[in-house]
């Protein structure tokens, strides 16, 4: 039987495999615009048209494409490159961030527009929540997508030197909307081998024996790697500038497995099918060990020890008690403080496991390429990572390689959210590549993202707050237990961060903390947007709201009375952070935004509650948060800005782009410093070849750290070029004015192209580029406040968000359109974690929600529009007055919602998520108690 399919007017005759889906058939033929988000029909990133009908190609049996015409995102634009109107609209509205879901939204929107007015039109285009049921975006919060569909234009083209503060479009936009942006796996590597991982079925077991013989006999299998092939080195999968921040408790492949899903062996084969088959044929003999999944139980004497076999060199605080890290501290005396209080409130708050759910899964491709100096080959690892430089450092340490023999590069990254501040695949892929001297790829499945990657840390926070009748705080005490899972990656650091700014933002004479990061036999937790602050902020902001209510005070007034002011010290019971300053203060403005929203609700100007059905309860609530604008202990960035022969500029930075928009900001900063337009600035990034070092795209550092390095480099280049122009023309330096494309030297125009040539002719090539470096210290703080007005149906537990208002103190906003997108995306992601997202584990610690249909992500229908207000502040430390704004919008959301729910119902909800069944049950129980 001969097979034939037309894809974007190109013919393919290769027979598909029997069980192959259309998605992989298309990608194997180079149609990389077709993305794998879930591979299960839930996310829509793989949407294509088959004979004009939109389908999810991951579910479409490839054999059924026989004789049909398939259109992918690459086929939307006309052959001469003229964009489809829908592509144009997504560009104008910037209806994407990382762009991994964009092809799916484009293909779906095109189909909706085609349906409009046809016999089958059922009004979907006017009902986007329903129309986009099958499309998930993790970054934007959907407002930008709605604007794109509706044809709203947000982008602008500022004139030369005026880019900063304007809505400049992301430079990768045209590639994103045409499906030509290259993400991690969108490359063809000749001779590529594929890896699949065998994972542990047991929560805790010693591997007694592994029989690989049958696996090795599978045709196409090249190698089976077990713990016997792995280096004995212990390390952490977490990536930090200083590796000592994390306990060294992990091996590439270990002889002991500590959670269901931990990798046991790796099979490398010609195809994923053969590698999968190889995994099924490996026979492992386990000696099962006692396990513990509850962190409190894990700390009790006699509990099974996860890392009892490790010595002090692993830097585990108390391995015998499963404590990965702990901190205890007190300022003043909390007992005295509570004794002085008129109200003492004590409660325990709990947050659940949450998955980052970046649409691009973890994975990497390792291959060999000739070294530039011609002395043999080096290993290049193309990875979906937020930290190329730190990953190179870790790989070199692990395998004893010099840094010039390893290059780590990230393509465009399909979302991170902290999940990719981790080395989860590069270590084992490098092991295989070095062993086989062949290119090797490992691409996680969506299920593996859930049971074989990391989650947000689940926290239990016991909090006690004391206050006097006049509303003055007397004492705050917290006992924090963070469940780090089977490994300590980010465990102690998240724990420390969680009790830093959350304590410091409130002024109280007495503060005490006992915090523990605890090992359990479950999937490891790791870095996640907010880095622990969100969990503790849920407890603190809920408690402050409750104390105010008990004092009969307006919670906002209570906060205003107790938060630190601009000149005040930031005291946390874990000690001072010497390099942390309030270099700009916008908290008062943030709270004013909430105050205004409350007033509008009271005056009736806010009409959002007018249509609430009878019997529903209405309430409003606020949450706020402070965050340092960068991680402690140094966060380094190098940047180099160069003039190119054609008179445009090249910016080299190390930080990665995953929809955070830092590339745009770096372009804007450079264009501003060099008096040009952003289209004359190109950015190269996230490649260990392009600059000396960069700590990475985490800790919200893309603008304030890497951006500052870019600013320094661009400023320095401007000075150098001016000197060169003066020498070239003989005109006094101060009379040489840099313009968009040329210098005006007292009336004489010297184009940048001419200047470049002159520089080269003079042998002053070095003068045509400049470096910038920033060490990430000192740091400032940013503030956020979230306000919700909600309606609750006590009969069903349904919560409707009537109005959502967010205030963000981002300092000088570099790109309002993008920054608004960061805030909206953060609020949406936090709403997911507040309302329904929940990585559930069973009694043995096995993840039971390993697919998007079991792990609900916020969909179009779930996310309200959030009104975003920026404060008028300018930071004394950040570049051009800017502060970070990527993690922080997440943090105040959960308590704001819980406070609004409390206001509406009288019930204090202490455990997330607030699903309808739980809300109904709590209200039902309250009604029973009140009725009894």
């Amino acid at each position: 039987m001969s097979f034939h399919v037309r894809v974007n007017d190109r013919s393919h005759d290769d027979e598909p495999r029997a069980g192959q889906c259309l998605r992989t058939y298309l990608r194997e033929r180079g149609w990389f615009g077709v993305k794998k988000g879930c591979d299960a029909g839930d996310c829509g990133a793989c949407t294509v048209h088959v004979d004009g009908e939109p389908v999810h190609s991951c579910l479409y049996p490839a054999v059924r494409a026989e004789g049909r015409a398939v259109t992918t995102v690459e086929g939307l634009a006309s052959p001469d490159g003229e964009l489809h109107p829908v592509q144009r609209k997504f560009l104008d509205a910037q209806g994407y961030q990382c762009g991994f879901c964009t092809a799916g939204f484009l293909m779906t929107t095109v189909a909706l527009e085609a349906e409009r007015g046809s016999a089958h039109d059922d009004g979907k285009l006017d009902d986007l929540p329903r129309a986009f049921k099958g499309n998930i975006c993790r970054c934007t919060g959907y407002r930008a997508i709605e604007d794109a569909v509706q044809g709203v234009r947000h982008t602008e083209r500022p004139c030369a030197g005026k880019a900063v503060g304007k809505n400049v479009a992301a430079p990768a936009g045209p590639q994103v909307v045409t499906g030509t942006a290259r993400y991690t796996f969108d490359v063809e590597v000749p001779g590529l081998l594929h890896m699949k991982l065998l994972r542990s079925p047991h929560p805790h077991a010693r591997i007694v024996a592994v029989d690989t013989a049958a696996a090795l006999r599978v045709p196409g299998v090249h190698a089976v790697l077990t713990h016997e092939d792995a280096p004995p080195t212990l390390y952490s999968s977490a990536r930090h500038e200083h590796p000592t921040e994390d306990p060294d408790d992990t091996r590439v492949l270990d002889s002991v497995v500590r959670y269901v899903g931990q990798r046991v062996a790796a099979v490398v084969a010609d195809s994923e099918q053969a590698a999968e088959e190889g995994c099924r044929r490996i026979e492992v003999t386990y000696e099962q060990l006692p396990y513990v999944t509850d962190p409190e139980a894990a700390m009790l004497p006699g509990a099974p020890q996860l890392h009892g076999d490790k010595g002090p060199e692993a830097r585990i605080a108390r391995a015998e008690n499963n404590v990965a890290g702990e901190v205890h501290g007190e300022i003043g005396d909390v007992e005295t403080g509570f004794a002085e209080a008129d109200v003492v409130y004590e409660e325990t708050f709990r947050t659940q496991r949450v998955q980052h759910a970046s649409l691009e899964t973890h994975g990497c491709v390792a291959y060999f390429e000739p070294k530039e100096d011609g002395t043999g080959e080096r290993l290049t690892v193309r990875s979906s990572t937020q930290t190329p430089f730190l990953t190179r450092r870790a790989l070199c340490a692990l395998y004893g390689l010099p840094e010039d023999e390893v290059r780590v590069v990230a393509g465009r990254v399909g979302g991170g959210f902290g999940g990719k501040q981790e080395m989860l695949t590069e270590d084992i892929v490098t092991l295989a590549a070095l062993k086989l001297r062949r290119p090797v790829k490992l691409e996680y499945t969506r299920a593996e993202q859930f049971h074989g990657a990391t989650t947000r840390h689940p926290f239990t926070i016991g909090i006690t707050v004391g206050a006097r009748a006049d509303g003055t705080l007397t004492a705050v005490r917290m006992r924090v237990v963070s469940n780090t899972g089977a490994y300590g990656n980010h465990g102690p650091a998240v724990m420390f961060h969680s009790v830093g700014e959350s304590f410091a933002v409130y002024r109280a004479p007495n503060k005490k903390v006992d915090a523990y990061s605890v090992y359990t036999n479950a999937v490891p937790a790791g870095a996640f947007r907010g880095y622990g602050l969100g969990q503790v902020t849920f407890a603190v902001e809920s408690a402050m709201d409750e104390v105010a209510r008990r004092l009969g005070m307006d919670p906002l007034v209570f906060r205003e009375k107790n938060v630190i002011g601009p000149g005040e010290p930031m005291h946390s019971p874990i000690g001072e952070e010497e390099d942390l300053f309030i270099a700009s203060y916008g908290l008062d403005q943030c709270l004013s935004v909430a105050r205004r929203a409350i007033a509008e609700a009271a005056s009736g100007e806010d009409t959002s509650a007018d249509e609430v059905p009878e019997g529903w309860l209405v309430g409003q609530g606020t949450g706020m948060a402070m965050i340092a604008t960068g991680p402690p202990g140094g966060h380094y960035a190098d940047a180099r800005v160069s003039l190119l022969p054609d008179g445009t500029y090249d910016v080299a930075v190390g930080t990665a782009e995953f929809g955070n928009g830092t590339t745009t900001v770096h372009q804007q900063i450079t264009a501003g410093a060099l008096g040009t337009t952003e289209d004359r600035v190109a950015v190269r990034q996230s490649d260990t070849d392009v600059v000396r070092h960069d700590t990475g795209a985490f800790g919200s550092a893309g603008t304030v750290v890497a951006g500052k390095a870019v600013l320094l480099a661009a400023g320095s280049l401007a000075e150098r070029l001016r000197t060169l122009a003066a020498r070239h023309t003989g005109v006094a330096r101060h009379l040489c004015v840099l313009g968009a494309e040329a210098f005006d030297c007292a009336g004489r125009t010297v184009t940048l192209k001419e200047l470049y040539e002159a520089g080269h002719a003079r042998g002053a090539a070095e003068e045509l580029a400049a470096d910038g470096h920033w060490g990430g210290s000192p740091r400032s703080v940013a503030f956020n406040a979230q306000w919700f007005r909600v309606a609750v149906d006590p009969a069903t537990g349904e919560i409707r968000i009537l109005r959502s208002v967010h205030a963000a103190d981002a300092g000088k906003v570099m790109n309002p359109m993008q920054c608004r997108g960061q805030v909206e995306g953060g609020v949406a992601q936090a709403l997911g974690a507040t309302l329904f997202e929940n990585v559930r584990i069973d009694e043995r610690g096995k993840v039971t929600t390993a697919a998007f249909r079991r792990y609900r992500l916020p969909q179009y229908a779930d996310v309200p529009r959030t009104e975003v207000h920026f404060t008028e502040t300018s930071d004394a430390i950040g570049p051009l007055g800017a502060k970070s704004m990527s993690e922080s919008p997440f943090n105040p959301v959960a308590p704001a919602l819980a406070n609004a729910l409390r206001d509406a119902t009288g019930v204090r909800f202490t455990e997330l998520p607030l699903t309808r069944d739980r809300v109904w049950l709590a209200l039902e129980r309250q009604a029973r108690v009140l009725g009894a």
Partner: protein, 277 residues
């Protein structure tokens, strides 16, 4: 996703011996959504040529197992029967989007037997009867409410094929009421209740699904009052029949099942009282 253990796709029109590791391939939207390591061959039903929707002379509607959700939705929008709105309501009760509707089949949804399967809700409520064909060619019929026996469990033998489901004319002529609850906006059903009021004898059927492990169709010769309905539901649905999974606590599902049943009863009997006046 790729089903890498599958080595062959057979045309369903050929009558070949059924083997262990075989599976019927309908729309593929379930089979291709999860790893299926036990499968070796897919028997493709896409070329069977079955008419998706056939209205018989007696007014009944036969829906082929291979009828897609899109076909059903479009048919329902133009079908001139009293129960027609229920078709679109049940289609929209899918967690899946209209793009999945282009592939997913009515038969596939029934044979998955999941509590939240909206085609189960639809056909159970409209008194549907499954036509089943065994490997030896023998044919039998089973009511939808008897075909689905539990969460993911159904009365289907190895290799047996669901050919179609037929909705009787009398059910199609019923006035219907529809209620759905989910933990999420436009999410998977946690409770789905349908009422049908027979135009001929005024009897009321209330079908509870999604909240329960299987559909429960309660028939009342005369519409019950609020308490009678509640007692009937509580008598029919045992505690363990209220479904417990991640899409809703059983207490909530029970509450919602009872609540929606009452809403449905009220909607249908209210209009009855009005028309009687």
């Amino acid at each position: 996703m790729d089903l890498n253990t599958v080595t062959d796709v057979r045309d369903g029109r050929r009558h070949e011996p059924w083997r262990p590791g075989d599976a019927w391939l309908g729309g593929g939207t379930y089979l291709f959504s999860e790893p299926q390591p036990r499968l070796r061959r897919l028997v493709d039903l896409s070329r069977m040529g079955w008419e998706p929707l056939t209205r018989a002379e007696d007014g009944s509607l036969e829906i082929a197992a291979t009828c897609t959700i899109t076909q059903l939705s479009r048919y329902g929008r133009t079908m001139g029967v009293e129960a027609a709105p229920l078709f679109e309501q049940c289609c929209r009760a899918f967690l899946a989007s209209f793009k999945i509707w282009n592939m997913a089949t009515v038969g596939g949804n029934l044979c998955n037997g999941l509590p939240a399967g909206p085609m189960i809700s639809l056909t159970a409520a409209l008194d549907g009867v499954c036509l089943l064909r065994a490997q030896d060619g023998s044919v039998r019929r089973a009511k939808v409410v008897d075909f689905v026996t539990g969460a993911g469990r159904k009365d289907l033998a190895e290799g047996e094929l669901l050919r179609s489901v037929t909705l009787p004319a009398r059910a199609l002529g019923s006035r219907t009421a529809f209620r759905q609850a989910s933990l999420y906006g436009l999410g998977r059903s946690g409770a789905l209740v349908i009422g049908t009021l027979d135009p001929v004898d005024g009897s009321l059927a209330v079908t509870i699904s999604a909240a329960t492990v299987r559909p429960f169709r309660l028939w009342f010769p005369l519409p019950p009052d609020r308490d009678e309905l509640r007692r009937a539901v509580e008598a029919a649905v045992r505690e363990e029949d209220w479904f417990d999974d991640i899409h809703g606590l059983p207490e909530w599902r029970r509450h919602m099942g009872l609540r929606l049943a009452e809403e449905v009863r009220r909607e249908l009997t209210h209009s009855l009282e009005k028309s009687a006046r």
